[in-house]
Subunit: 363 residues, 2 copies
């Protein structure tokens, strides 16, 4: 199988309902923020437009959904407070992808222009002065900065009492620090040009392991007043599933169908991302193939035929199959954590469904 | 007078003492954060190194000093809590300058390489893979992101009780939003290539008016439990002084001595910054000079002789003198606000001294 062509595995219907409710809350929050922001700084609507464009361009809202499920797991009922807090996580994610796309030079995200590419196009369309690329980067840096600030504000203004909000903010703060740290280690590894499987797995754990699943679950659970034992169960589920999410991301970044992923399929290799998939391929390939791979990883000027041969090498080395086996193993570990007594039955079923969504997704 | 060559007007000695105490608190805070960060994400020390390098490369610590003075104005005594909160403002400033230098393409800050330039050099020195400039931008974006996150953390962990901390965090949140908004309007005006005096003053007010003086004073005063009347006095002093700070910045950005300012003197013109100084020059210059100015503002490839002629036009048009008169007028407005009864005498003297530091500074 060269390309992952299966239909996207959808969110379980109950999770889709949660996602829609978070989206509505997020839209309402952004409307108020935009009005206040523009009143203070006329002209700044472009930054709000951009945040709304990125938020509106898609995404599965996995982080908000996990946040709501953590809250439900703690025995609380969904209300506006948790929807607002969950919306904060989508804004944090918006910050992360907008800045990441600048760093990776990725011009496409969710099948639409990435933020810097969007501002660059705007520059050309309006015939502005100066360098379009510099304008694009500036716009994206500032849109990302604003999204990070708005994420904080949504969480702080979620309406929870201080004794719940304060520990949740602490967990949130740790999570976002690890996102930045993970992204730095990712960039550093790509430019260093070496990273074995172990180092690649550590970056995957930092970048997504705790940010996509465990962190959001914990934040929701803490806001719901969860006991320590529940947080531990959520970690046993969330950490392997988060790592599986990132490994799946790495597979899709090389073998995914761009018409489904909404991303360029060659850019991970052109950027020289040192993923687990690549580390396994470098370790398992024959000497000639290894030299071919190593020499070309991270070269922005790779020809299409070279990228194609790199894909063949990765697949032929067994690295693709090994990564898929690792994803399946991590999914099993996540599933077996769900046997714990402390989880309400309904939440358990939803979390079980999400294992498939996360590990078999095509985008 | 072609260049502003006077010695820097130093901070009043009592303010210097405050600045040193904040620096010590900031260093201690960063040591703990680095240790915890590296324990979670080995390799991330480079980002902490960079934040420490930028913090250690100088700066007058105006924002932390104003924060401490706001606290003293409210009748509280300096202690570790307010030093920690003041340190947060220096970290916020670090975020702002690190990201701004990426957007402006400024390679020099405080007489040392700016953050992106520093990471670019590191790439070359270590012989890393890929594009040095891309690595530089990535490193600076992430160092800035981390500084913003750490600023929040320092404020949240400052140790004030919730009833003081919560309103102060709200004021801080508004302040940092306006910094981002002001920077966006600045970038947008430079690329649009038009901004009259009024628009330029609005950007100056947003970018620095409230961020350098009023915001820090308010945050300190709120943490000290200040009544509304005191906040109003601090605004009457802080808003004009903050605007004067930005106008002085604009003058130094074109006429300052690079060996004193630590910044490139030509880059404001090469970037096409639409400052009040430039708006006044465009409005007052004769037709031929105006065309010369307008055509060249924002061209990164300007020859030294062209920049020199632009400086002559700005000075000859009377715009430099008019801007300096405006700074003096704003300084007078700030001084006259200090007559209010509600200010303790000692704080009033220090605030009066800072008017000179801010408006007559050479760097």
């Amino acid at each position: 199988m060269r390309e992952v062509r299966a239909d996207p595995v959808p969110l379980p219907p109950a999770c889709r309902v949660l996602a829609h409710r978070v989206e509505a809350e997020l839209a309402a929050f952004l409307r108020v923020q935009r009005r206040e922001g523009v009143a203070r700084a006329p002209g700044v609507e472009n930054l709000f437009d951009e945040i709304e464009r990125v938020v509106g361009s898609g995404g599965k809202r996995l982080r908000p959904v996990f946040c709501c499920l953590g809250y439900l797991a703690a025995g609380s009922e969904t209300g506006q407070e948790i929807l607002r807090a969950a919306a904060a996580l989508e804004l944090l994610h918006t910050f992360a992808i907008v800045h990441d796309d600048v760093m990776d030079g990725s011009a496409v995200r969710r099948g639409a222009p990435s933020s810097w590419a969007h501002f660059r196009t705007r520059h050309r369309r309006l015939g502005l002065r100066g360098d379009p690329a510099a304008y694009g980067i500036s716009g994206a840096i500032l849109a990302g900065d604003l999204a990070l600030i708005l994420a904080d504000r949504a969480l702080m203004a979620s309406g929870f009492p201080a004794e719940r909000l304060h520990p949740a903010v602490g967990r949130y703060d740790r999570m976002r620090t690890e996102v930045v740290a993970g992204q730095y280690l990712d960039v550093a590894a790509a430019h260093r040009g070496t990273a074995g499987e172990e180092a690649a797995r550590r970056v995957a754990a930092l970048k997504s392991g705790q940010y996509t699943v465990e962190g959001p679950l914990h934040i929701g659970a803490i806001l719901g007043g969860a006991p320590e034992a529940l947080l531990e169960v959520l970690s046993s589920y969330g950490l392997p599933l988060g790592e599986a999410f990132q490994l799946r991301d790495d597979v899709l970044g090389v073998f995914g169908d761009p018409s489904v992923t909404g991303k360029d399929r060659d850019s991970d290799l052109r950027e020289g991302k040192r993923t687990v998939l690549v580390a396994l391929a470098v370790a398992a390939a024959g000497p000639e193939d290894r030299v071919f791979l190593e020499e070309r990883l991270g070269r922005p000027d790779l020809a299409a035929a070279e990228v194609e041969r790199m894909r063949s090498i990765i697949e032929g080395s067994g690295a693709l199959a090994a990564t898929q086996a690792l994803i399946a193993e991590l999914a099993d570990r996540a599933r077996s954590a769900l046997a714990a007594d402390v989880l309400p039955g309904g939440v358990r079923v939803l979390l079980e469904g999400l294992v498939e969504t996360v590990t078999l997704r095509s985008r």
